[in-house]
Amino acid sequence: MLNVDGVVKTYETVRAVDGLSFEARPGEIFGLIGPNGAGKSTTIRMIMNVIVPDAGTIRFDGKAFSESMKARIGYLPEERGLNKKVKVLETLVYLGVLKGLDSKDAKARAEAWLERFGLAEWKAEKIEALSKGMAQKVQFIGSVVHDPDLVLFDEPFSGLDPVSQDILLDAVLELKRRGKTVLISTHVMEHDERLCDRILLVRGGKELVSGSLPDLKARYGENSAQIEFDGDASFVSTLPCVESVRAMPRWIEATLGEGRDSGELLAAVAGRLRVRRFQMMEPSLHAIFVKLVEAAGEAEDD
């Protein structure tokens, strides 16, 4: 469906995107993951033809972008910007009509979506009357109301409460089930772990790693220990067998050093913490990301 090949975009002196390539297929959720400023939004804007790449090509079903394709694409930009003075339903109908729906059809679809998102009673209110989360849901509806084949979601979950996140998550999964191509950009890795079939990790406009999640995790093996405990675990990061940790007050993910044994770690923590769970598993996406970023950082320092 979507083929991005070697795109480059330079602003003034900053190379925002530096030769990214990837492919998103129908029925697949593709994750574009990276820290803030990695070039994710720039990439999505280039796909949307909102900005033009300096080099590289972007193709839809093998064809270059044309105006008529806009009707088949849905876009949720990172920054929310609906006209505050317009009513909710009117906004959605307008967005639908601009995508080629007739206004009656657009109205019926918009109302169904509002119902689903629990916003039906807000349809006659102006956007300015909505909370930030509600406005974001409305904008999400605006990006899918015309039933596009390809949807681009730029940080769709930011600023939403857990219940709203789940509603959105369901909606995204349904798009996947119906064979749509979904591209999500985010820096919240937990979402990708639950959602994405394949991912592309970006940093500084360049690819760190890409592939399907299981493949990626397998590449790093089961060298990650997740420990639930009571006590003070600050010493874990200083243990010789541990390469890196990600610590929460009562939970810790410790990545073992090359060739180290999990027994060594268990013995070390068992005496000093009240361990409630100790499990060896594949590293989380977060751990992989941190590891890769650190490695890249060291490479740059050398």
Partner: protein, 414 residues
């Protein structure tokens, strides 16, 4: 361009629901009332304008009171004689201070040779001053003639005044002898028309600019451009607001016609001669052309601006072209055929306003009107084309204060 009608409809709806639009449309009729009926009403009832307080006259001999009363009749004032002693004059001055008298004309002995004084609170009522001065001057001359022993009949014949009447030459050698008031009314109405075009063009232009820059800064434009082309977005806005403007003018013009053709005769006053369908058609024509020209420019500037403040700075040179003809308006009115008037009525940035004045005051040669319209329409086309290019590049250029040099570069982008 299938989505264009949807954008036009949306922008039209947004605009007509806007408070400023509603207020302006509602207030317009008052302005129209002012330019159609009010001049006639005022000439029927001058007291409404002057307040009608009497004038006090001290001294000046017999007949002076009556002469001044006759001369100030245009303001509907009465005249009261007061004594020439110091006490009466001091009293009268107090009454001028308190507003009971509009003025005190004090003519002490020997006024025939040395003149007198006009005491007023404001010192700015030039028309009253001119009227009284003429009477005093004339009376003094007559008194001096009597004193010299010249035959009054001979003196009258020698000092008789003559009038200069205003005759307006229309097309086809028609002559229309109008009084001074007719001329003033024409001027008044023409100025109002010009102000209307100036105000609405400026207002709508700025609204376009602001709307574009707001969508740009709030990123609404990204959502819009994921559905429509920049060209469609820009022209949708311009046409949508333009339609709203036309609706407004439609309401005003119908009202003006109804008032002048139906209501004015009914209450027995004459509407200004300028208010006739042909002139109203010119008004709408020049508004439409001025609007499209300035709306295109403002759309381009709005897209290039970083925020509203920056837009204000960028718009200055454009604004200047709108203001210049307004500042020089009296020159165009008194000399509609001067080479300056002709040049500025053909130069597209100023022509809508200057040509409108000329058409209303003294119809210029047909070739000049044709040239003006031709150049103006071509300029609208050129401005819209250029604006579409600047818009396309500028609208997505974030975090940068574009200069005019950069905008010129954008014109050449593919």
């Amino acid at each position: 361009m299938t989505k264009l009608p949807a954008i036009i409809r949306h922008e039209f709806k947004l605009m007509t629901a806007n408070k400023t639009f509603v207020i302006l449309t509602a207030l317009g009729p008052f302005l129209i009332l002012a330019i159609t009926v009010l001049p006639g009403l005022l000439s029927m009832n001058p007291k409404a304008l002057s307040g009608g307080e009497p004038i006090a006259v001290s001294g000046g001999g017999p007949g002076m009171t009556a002469a001044i009363e006759a001369a100030s009749a245009f303001q509907g004032r009465a005249v009261e004689a007061v004594g020439t002693d110091a006490g009466s004059i001091a009293d009268a001055k107090r009454l001028v201070q308190s507003g009971r008298y509009a003025a005190l004309v004090s003519l002490a002995d020997g006024w025939e040779d040395s003149g007198g004084s006009l005491y007023t609170k404001t010192g700015t009522d030039a028309m009253l001053y001119a009227a009284v001065e003429r009477v005093v001057d004339e009376s003094a001359r007559q008194a001096r003639i009597r004193r010299s022993g010249v035959d009054p009949a001979v003196a009258r014949e020698l000092t008789r005044r003559v009038d200069l009447s205003i005759v307006k030459l229309g097309t086809g050698n028609t002559e229309k002898a109008g009084g001074e008031s007719d001329f003033v009314q024409t001027l008044f109405t023409a100025m109002s028309f010009v102000m209307l075009v100036y105000m609405t063009t400026l207002l709508y232009g700025q609204m376009i600019g602001r709307s574009v820059v707001t969508e740009k800064t709030s990123k609404t434009v990204e959502i819009m451009l994921s559905s429509v082309s920049p060209r469609e977005l820009m022209f949708g806005k311009i046409l949508g607001l333009g339609l709203a403007g036309l609706l407004q003018y439609g309401i005003w013009v119908s009202l003006a016609l109804a008032l002048s053709k139906l209501v004015a005769p009914l209450i027995g006053i004459a509407a200004p001669p300028v208010i006739e369908p042909a002139n109203l058609a010119w008004l709408v024509t020049f508004f439409v052309l001025a609007y499209f020209l300035y709306a295109s420019l403002y759309a381009a500037l709005g897209a290039a601006a970083e925020d509203e403040q920056h837009l204000g700075q960028l718009a200055w040179p454009v604004l200047a072209f709108l203001i210049v003809p307004l500042v020089m308006i009296s020159s165009f009115v008194s000399n509609p055929g001067s080479s300056l008037s002709v040049v500025l009525s053909i130069f597209p940035m100023t022509s809508p306003i200057v040509m409108l004045i000329r058409v209303l005051i003294a119809p210029p040669p047909a070739w000049q009107i044709a040239l003006c319209l031709g150049i103006l329409i071509a300029s609208v086309y050129a401005a819209a084309t250029a604006a579409a290019r600047i818009f396309r590049v500028g609208i997505l250029m974030g975090g940068k204060r574009a200069t005019f040099g950069e905008m010129l570069k954008w014109l050449r982008v593919r």
